[in-house]
Amino acid sequence: MTVDSTLDSRAPPSAERVAFASMDALTTTGLTKRYGHREPPIHRPGHRPTGEVRALEDLTIAVREGEIFGFLGPNGAGKSTTIRLLLGYLHPTAGSATVLGRDIVRDSVEIRRRVGYLPGGIALYDSLSGERLLDYLGELTGRPSVRRAELLERLELSERTLRRPVRDYSRGMRQKIGIVQALQHDPELAVLDEPTEGLDPLMQRAFYGILDDLRAAGRTIFFSSHILSEVERVCDRVAIVRRGRLVALEDVASLLERRKRNVELRVAGDDVPVLDSVPGVSAVGRTADGRVTCQLEGDVGPFLAALAGHHVVDLTIEPAHLEEAFLELYEDAEPDGGDPSAGAAPVTPEGLAAR
C-alpha cells in the first residue's frame, strides 16, 4: 500500500488497495457522514438542500498494521466523526470502512472486542473506585487485562490511589485511568482521542514510552490530537482533515523533509557568502546586526558547500516542524464566512507535491 494511493480522497479503491487490504489495520473508502435534511427526490439544478451538515466527506485512508497514525484537524474538522463512525456510534451516510479486516457496520461488536478506545474528555463512573472501574470495564471487554499492572506502574497510579472513588480524582488522574482502560487488554488497535490532555510533562513522556512499546509489539495506534509537536514526535504518518475532507496523508518524515527550515548564520567581517543561487535556498536577507538569514529546503549539501571557504562564526538551522506544514495546508482554506457545510476541495497528489 503506497501513500500516494490514498492521497486523492475521491479516487476509487485501486486493485492494489484491495489486494493488500489485509495488511491494513483500518481502511475507509469514500466514508461520508452527513446530518440534517436529505436531498430532495427531484434534484433541481443549482438547488442545495438547506440544513445539511457535511461532517465527513468521501474519506479514503488506510492505516497500516503496526504504525502510529496521527489524525489531525481543528475542532469540527471531522476527526471525532471519523472515530465515531469506525466504532459504531454513528452510521455512515455513504462509503465503507473496515477495522482489523471487519466491516464497521456489520461487525461493530467484534471490532470493539479487539479495539481499545480512549474518548476525548473521557467521563467515568464517579461512584466507583479506580480499581473497581478498571475491573468493570475489563470484564465488559471480555479479555484479560494483561497490560494493566505495567500501565499502572508506568503512569504512577498506586494501589492507594486506585482504592479512592473516581470522583476524588484530578483531571490528570482521570486521563491516566482512561488510558489504562483503553490499553489494559492489549488491543490490536488503540484509538486514542487527545490522549495526553491533562497529563503533566513527565506523564506525557511516560505515555510516549508506552506508545513506543506498543509499536514495537506490533500494535496499531490511531492517534487524534491537536498537539502537533506530540504528533510529530510519536506518529509515523499523519492524515490532516479540514471541513470533513482529507487534505493530506503522508509520512511525517516526508512531510517535514519538504518544509523550509529557517537558517541564521553569522560570518566574520564582510565575508558574506552568496546564497541566492544555491539550490534549495530562498528568502536570503541580512539583519541589522549583520547576520544572514534564509530558508533552506531539501538537501543541505549545496548550502554547506556554498559556505565552504567562508569564516562562519555561528550557524543555526531550525528543524522543520509539523506545525508549519499544518498551518500551510490550512492557509489555503476558504476564507471564513464560506458555507460551513461544504467540504473543502481535496488536495491532489500533484498539488501536495508542489508544496
Binding site: 446530518y35 471525532s80 465515531r84 466504532l87 459504531g88 456510534y89 454513528l90 452510521h91 461493530s108 461488536v109 467484534e110 470493539r112 472486542r113 479495539v115 478506545y117 474518548p119 476525548g120 474528555g121 473521557i122 467521563a123 467515568l124 463512573y125 461512584s127 468493570y136 470495564l137 470484564e139 465488559l140 471487554t141 471480555g142 482502560q181 483503553a182
Partner: protein, 267 residues
Amino acid sequence: MNRTLFGHLWRSQRTKLLVVCVAMLAWSTFLPVIYQSFGQQMQALVDSGVIPKQLTNFGGADVFTLAGSVALGYIHPIAIILVSIFAIGFSASAVAGERQRGTLEVLLARPLSRWTVYITLLAAVLLFIGLVLAAASLGTVAGSAAAGILDQLPVGRLPLLWLNGMLLWGAFAAIALAASVSFDRLTPALGVTLAIVIVSYFLYVLGSLWPDAKGLEPYSLFTYLTSRDILTGIVDVKSFALLGAVAAVAIAIALVVFPRRDLAAPS
C-alpha cells in the same frame, strides 16, 4: 443480556432498592391496619351522607373492605411515587442520563450491541419493580396478620395482583426506556415519561370520581390495574393483555430506535 452490566446495575441500585422496598413494605402493612381500625367507622360516615358517596370511589378502591384497602395501597400517590423511582426514574436515566454524563461512551466502546445494553437495562428495571411490588405483597400479608384479619385476605390471589402490577409498571418502564434511548439528555426523556404517567393518573382519578368523566378512564393505563377485582376473584384477561401490548410496543420501538440512532459526541 450482559451479566457484567447487570451486576453493575444491581450494585449501583441495591441500597436505593432496599430503602424503597422497606418503605413499600411499611406502606402496605399500614393499609390493612387502617381498614381494621377505621373501616366500619368510615362506612358509617359515608352512609350518614356527610361525605358524598362518589368521593369514596377513588381509583376503584376504598377502606371499607380489605380488598378495597389493599387496592387503595396500590393506586395511592405514595405507592406510585415509590414504584416510579425505578419504573420512571431509573428507566428514563438509564441511557439518556449516561449519555448526558458522558459515561455511555466508555460503555459502548465495549463489545456490547445496543440490543444487549437495552435488554440488560430492561431486565434490571423489571427485577427492581418486581422486588418493590413483592415488598407490597409481603406488607399486605404482614399488615393483615398484624390486624388479625389474615383469614380475610385471599393470599393465593396476591401473585396475580403482583403480575398485574408488574404489567402496569413494566409498561411505564418500557415507555421510559423508549424515551431514554431516544434523547441525548435526561430532562426531555424524564419529562415525556412523567407527562404520560401524570396525564394517565389524572384521567383515571377524574374518571373514577366524576361520573361525567367516566369515559376518560379507558385512556388511562391505571384503569387496567384491577387490584380489587383480582382480590375478589374477578380476573379481566383483557386488562392484562392490554398492559402487555403497551409494554411490547414500547419495547419494540426502543429496539428499533436505539440501534439505528446516531450517537454524536457528547457536548
